[in-house]
């Protein structure tokens, strides 16, 4: 039972690390602001949920798990709000969302 829980938490932690890494690479390589925002939200939702769930399984039932659940709840409420505020501010400032074209890709590289 202990081994099964360990393996489960390792799988969750590894998957979370992979998602976070992919999101980081995407935030660096994507062509414009809105696609970068899309890549960054992968790390905010999937990466955070997987990493904290993996750590939670290691903690077992205790106050630590409660604290981790509070952190996860705050992250899940605040990061979409921050993304919305960022997209709203960028749109109001006149940055146009455009479909990824060849010109955009050449801009990025």
């Amino acid at each position: 039972m202990k081994l099964a829980l360990d393996i489960l938490s390792w799988v969750l932690l590894t998957a979370g690390g992979a998602f976070v890494l992919v999101g980081g690479i995407g935030a660096l390589r994507m062509p414009n602001l809105y696609t970068r925002m899309h890549a960054a939200s992968v790390t905010d939702t999937m990466g955070a949920v997987l990493v904290i769930a993996g750590v939670m399984i290691q903690a077992g039932l205790s106050l630590v798990t409660l604290k981790l659940a509070a952190i996860l709840m705050f992250l899940l409420i605040t990061s979409p709000t921050a993304s919305y505020a960022l997209a709203n501010a960028a749109l109001l400032a006149g940055i146009k969302p455009s479909a990824g074209s060849a010109a955009d890709l050449e801009d990025a590289s």
Partner: protein
Amino acid sequence: MYFAVAMALVVTMALALARAVIGPTVYDRVLSVNMFGTKTVLLLAVIAFLYGRPDFLDLALAYALINFIGVLAVLEFFRSRARHSEQEQEPEDLAR
């Protein structure tokens, strides 16, 4: 195991910092800083278990709230600045 996840998080934070340095608009920089803050919270949670010190979770909790408030404050600042410049008929150069 925790160490591998911590390394992935640190590498991602470095990538976010690189985007914050080269980001063409100010909103790219705010996005990267927001991402950096979220990764800091995750890194603190992982480090608490890596070193076996659960006290770090309190820091992570406080940092999650401070990061959110900070990003919203910076965005509100730039939004009101953009609004003011629009009244002065110069909407273009502030976004750069």
